[in-house]
């Protein structure tokens, strides 16, 4: 319009520029509207991290495979002892072949199905312990950080509990309940929440007095809204990180407990038990596959959870959102 040569002033006037605008309520609201959604942004940032996304797919595949593996055709039973038909002896330390994909162990059990059964056990322990840690840790940590009069006493309790050797608790637990899956989970739950509670407490202490919280309090925001809209999005990323890391940590801890002889009974395959069995045979080079296969599966699982947890925590941090 600007380039057009105008001979007479009245020629350049277009009528519609001088019409009265109607007041439209919906249009007026639009400026203040944003279609920002916390979880969608988190997801968008997360899938941009290609390594983490690939590992997420790997985890989904691994987890669903461990769940459906026993129902697939031609799978061996993880605790059945296989007999060699020609000699009528146990099929001991059979090297990997078509029949036994990962070979057999020292008493003739199929290592392939034992590994997946062990993964199932270990993942189950990890998920249960991780969820419990988050549940107990957040509640106690929030009380610890929020209620100022409780600060001293919970700190004192924490100091005492943190210094009692876990081994004593574990042995007492196995004494009361006999060694089993439940025992190990309960024992890990009893002591596991401490770190999480302390962590949540520190976070809450840091952000509860920030200016933006003060400001929204002055503006009359109810406490519930402050917690859900101001504090929780801040905590979500780190709490998710802790849960994601609690799973590999619990798996590693199970390996440790088995190593010092306080883990699961040998009859329940778990990654810790498998690695311990493999360790007993590692001096014979031809039998090292019994250590290497479980170690590879274990590392794959823990590494994927670790990387994915970190990437998700980055993505869940509102400061990284667009």
């Amino acid at each position: 319009m600007g380039n057009k040569k105008i001979n007479k002033v009245t020629d350049g006037i277009t009528e519609n520029l001088f019409e009265f605008a109607e007041f439209d309520d919906a249009e007026a609201q639009r400026a203040g509207y944003s279609n920002y959604s916390y979880w969608r942004s988190t997801w968008q940032v997360f899938i941009k991290n290609r390594v983490a996304f690939a590992l997420l797919i790997l985890i989904i595949v691994l987890v669903s495979f461990t769940i459906i593996q026993p129902y697939l055709p031609n799978q061996k039973h993880p605790t059945k002892i296989y007999i060699d038909e020609t000699t009528n002896m146990q099929l001991r330390n059979h090297p990997p072949d078509k029949e036994f994909w990962f070979g057999t162990n020292s008493i003739g059990q199929d290592l392939w199905s034992r590994i997946w059964s062990g993964t199932r056990t270990s993942l189950f322990i990890g998920v249960v312990v991780g969820l419990w840690e988050a549940f107990a840790g957040i509640i106690i940590g929030a009380l610890w950080g929020y209620v100022r009069s409780l600060d001293r006493i919970i700190t004192e309790i924490y100091n005492v509990l943190d210094n009692i050797p876990v081994t004593i608790v574990l042995i007492l637990m196995t004494y009361i309940m006999r060694p089993s899956l439940t025992t190990i989970i309960v024992a890990m739950c009893i002591t596991g929440w401490l770190g999480m509670a302390r962590f949540v407490r520190n976070l809450i202490v840091i952000i509860r007095d920030r200016e933006y919280n003060l400001a929204s309090k002055c503006l009359g925001t109810p406490t519930r809204r402050i917690i859900t809209k101001n504090l929780l999005p801040y905590l979500v990323s780190v709490i998710m990180l802790r849960i994601a890391l609690a799973i590999p940590a619990a798996i590693g801890y199970e390996v440790f407990l088995t190593y010092i002889g306080l883990g699961l009974p040998v009859s329940i395959p778990s990654l810790g038990n498998l690695i311990n069995e493999g360790r007993a045979l590692m001096m014979v080079p031809s039998l090292r596959y019994q250590l290497i296969f479980p170690a590879i599966v274990l590392s794959m699982i823990t590494i994927s959870f670790y990387v994915m947890g970190n990437a998700f925590a980055d993505a869940a941090d509102p400061r990284n959102h667009v």
Binding site: P165, G252, F256
Partner: protein, 314 residues
């Protein structure tokens, strides 16, 4: 500072007192078979009672507690009953601590040097080759349980370097691999934190000012960024160093080093109460002292931290 330290000391003593009492009572809850080990089946009821009474375990619980406090206050850790019968606990510790201390301190030194330099290197080449390589290392070490990579190091590196698999006190070659394996975890965590703090600090205004006034990059790194980034790490340094006394269960049992590593687990399983109590006492005091020294060290590194006043926010 003195007033603060005294107050802190008083609090710690109370905490220590509670911990030791709780552990004492927990040990009394343990099944009594543990006191006899293999011999349990062979003894009859009267013999068992006699042995337990001889250990003072049939006295009323408050008298046992009182005797226990008395012996601690007189500085006597007591005598081992089951682990090595009739040997003073101080003696057992004296023979074991030097090994753990040697490996632990070497590992801390190695991990500090390599971890901090790796962290700085990673922060300086952010999202370039070294950063990515370092991240891979950190992820691997943090995610995979230590037992697994310790095992593989022992399995393959001893073969490659042609050193004996097990530790021998008079063969210096066998001292190296355990110390290096022990340092791997520390290296990873130092590198991770160093990188994170360095990256945080590098984005701050004072770095831009220092650059604007024409300071060279190296001077900014050493004089400004490093010092600030090291402060949060300084807090954990004393505890880390003190805790080396406790040894590493994995490393010491893998290489069969006669150190402190498995001692606590071992004596708890055998229910050698006196040794358990002594060890818990030592470890918790280490923890408490370490935390205190950490606070002081942090205040020394960063003059802005004042231990006497409460922070403005709280």
């Amino acid at each position: 500072m003195l007033k603060y330290s005294l107050k802190r000391l008083g609090q710690s003593l109370i905490t220590l007192f509670i911990i030791v009492t709780v552990v004492f009572l927990l040990m009394r809850l343990m099944p009594e078979e543990g006191y006899f080990g293999q011999a349990y089946e062979k003894l009859d009821e009267a013999q068992r009672e006699a042995i337990l009474a001889g250990m003072g375990l049939r006295d009323p619980i408050h008298i046992q507690l009182l005797n226990f406090y008395k012996s601690i206050l007189s500085g006597d850790l007591g005598v081992s009953n089951i682990y090595r019968p009739k040997v003073p606990i101080a003696e057992i510790l004296k023979s074991k601590i030097p090994y753990s201390l040697y490996f632990g301190l070497t590992a801390v030194a190695i991990s500090l040097v390599f971890g901090v330099s790796l962290g700085i290197l990673m922060a300086r080449s952010k999202s370039k080759f070294w950063d990515k390589l370092g991240t891979c290392y950190i992820v691997f070490i943090n995610a995979v349980p230590a037992a697994v990579y310790y095992l593989f190091i022992q399995l393959y590196l001893t073969g490659i370097f042609n050193v004996p698999m097990l530790f021998k006190a008079d063969d210096p070659r066998t001292w190296i691999l355990p110390a290096i394996s022990m340092s791997l975890g520390g290296t990873a965590s130092y590198a991770m934190w160093m990188r994170r703090y360095m990256v945080d600090e590098l984005n701050k205004d004072y770095v831009k000012l220092a650059r604007a006034k024409g300071l060279r990059n190296k001077a900014i790194m050493v004089k400004h960024v490093f010092r600030n980034a090291f402060v949060p790490m300084a807090q954990y340094l004393p505890s880390t160093i003190l805790y080396t006394i406790a040894g590493s269960i994995y490393i010491e049992s893998l290489y069969s080093i006669p150190g402190m590593g498995g001692l606590l687990v071992d004596v708890i399983q055998r229910q050698d109460n006196t040794v358990v109590q002594a060890l818990v006492l030592i470890y918790s005091s280490i923890g408490i002292v370490g935390l205190f020294l950490g606070d002081i060290l942090m205040a020394l590194f960063d003059p802005r931290i004042n231990l006497n006043k409460k922070g403005g926010a709280r």
